[in-house]
């Protein structure tokens, strides 16, 4: 694994302002010879909803996956709640990848919702939600199930508790996936195109759940092509292209008065 470059000052608890949940600094990432992230920096404040937009292949998803270390980083740093994600500074001051157990502990506080849901097909809806709390948080089965039922009711699936993923619609599956992420009581949730794999009539039910989370103050980073949703829910919209951030701003500014030609061209194509 390539450790991120930079000098030794990158110990974990450096001066990241407390109200910043995510602080990404100059993140670079290549797959073989292709550089997919060319120095991405982004701050996400507590309670903020950031929507990443941009053409496919622009690096949005890769960047999102770097935030919980599903992808390693070649250079630069990402802090979540002031802690360097996925890496540590060894005794000689070099930056190395964290041990698997430490990475797992960090990920436990970061929810991730996948484009293709990735529900466990061999487990009931309730077990999908409870597995993490029981096995990672060591919550008792009774307590995990009580909390799981409450979460499933909250996402409108109180009647599907004993169903299997194979018996659910796409929209229902994605709501289970959101409940599964919430069950870990994360401080941040990352959404990777949560509605891209859904039939049009099911997009609304998933966006409603995400909107509710936003209004409850959950910090979220969402990769999305739903511009209406971005305009309504985002505190900050980030336009990415070719592995870099083109511009970012409040949705009203970015959508109505884009500063860059590439943003204009992208929005013209998608709207």
């Amino acid at each position: 694994m390539a450790a991120p470059g930079g000098s030794a000052e990158g110990g974990p608890d450096v001066a990241v302002p407390l109200d910043l949940v995510v602080s990404a600094v100059d993140v670079h990432k290549s797959f073989r010879d292709v550089e997919v992230l060319k120095g991405v920096s982004l701050d996400v404040a507590r309670g903020e909803v950031v929507v990443l937009i941009g053409p496919s292949g622009s690096g949005k998803t890769t960047f999102l996956r770097c935030i919980n270390h599903l992808e390693t980083v070649d250079q630069g740093r990402i802090y979540v709640n002031g802690r360097l994600v996925g890496y540590r500074t060894d005794r000689r001051g070099r930056i190395r990848e964290e041990r698997a157990s430490a990475i797992a502990r960090q990920r436990a506080d970061i929810g991730f919702v996948f484009q293709h849901f990735n529900l466990y097909p061999n487990r009931s809806v309730l077990d999908n939600v409870c597995l993490g709390p029981r096995k990672v948080r060591r919550v008792s089965r009774d307590e995990a199930e009580r909390a799981g039922r409450a979460l499933l009711r909250r996402v409108g699936l109180g009647s599907k508790i004993d169903a299997h993923p194979a018996q659910l619609s796409g929209g229902q599956k994605q709501r289970v996936a959101i409940a599964r992420a919430l069950a870990m009581q994360p401080k941040l949730i990352l959404f990777d195109e949560p509605t891209s794999a859904l039939d049009p009539e099911m997009i609304g039910e998933v966006l409603t759940v995400i909107r509710d989370l936003a209004s409850e103050g959950m910090t979220m980073v969402v990769v999305s092509h739903e511009m209406g949703f971005a305009r309504e829910v985002a505190d900050q919209v980030v336009m990415m292209d070719d592995g870099a951030i083109v511009e970012k701003g409040r949705p009203a500014e970015l959508f109505d008065r884009p500063a860059h030609e590439r943003t204009r061209a992208f929005l013209a194509k998608i709207l």
Binding site: R107, G111, A163
Partner: protein, 266 residues
Amino acid sequence: MISTVGLHFDGRFFWTSLLHPSSAFLQGLWATVYMSVVAQLLATVLGLALALARRSKVGVVRGVAWSYAWMMRGTPLLVQLALVYFGLAAAGIYRFANLTVGPVTIPGEVQAAILTFTLNEAAYMGEIIRAALAAVDPGQMEAAMSTGMTPSRAMRLVVVPQAVRFVIPPLGNDFNALMKNTSLASIIGVQEMFLVSEQVSSVTFNTFEIYLVASLYYLGLTTVWSVIQAVIERRIDRRWGIRREPRRWSATWSRRRTVLDVGLGA
């Protein structure tokens, strides 16, 4: 006794052997069953280890697992049996002696046979499990890790249980073959069903009859197993929330008829 020109078939001997087998024959049957079951269970555990070794980050571990499969799958089971039982003893490396555990004595040749069947079958199980693990969507691992599981815990709690569904059909196939292959243990003197039949044959000269009886018993064993396998598969499907047609045959038949009807109607 039916005796026409050139045909000798002792019907009474056949039916008696089939319906009221001698205790020697039943013990042979039991040996066949328990060698198969024990070897298959041990081979599955060893196979999982081999499959995981094939996915190791360490090149040497991968290499050892690969070489093991290469050797075990590249040499005949019959030769392996002879090598383990006669070969090791002749070379003075290891002689399988009878082992008494409580009330039961496990003869040396049975130990050698179970060991060989296990080692041989493990190579195949390794390949089966490796393919099954690869068949589980990588997104499952990521989903588990995103809820804070370490890769090893995600493997154990999420990936391996799902791989079971892909393991059962080829495992069933292998176990079917293993039950029949236990007859090879006769060459090292294991009193299993085939060797007992051979002995009956040489004493009674009812060669055709007793081998036919043995064949039917092997057929019975594999048939029982195929029913058990179907039950296991259906149970796993139910866990996945997949409902299958309750009676496969009638479903097949009706599907065929539908196709035919469509064909006629068109």
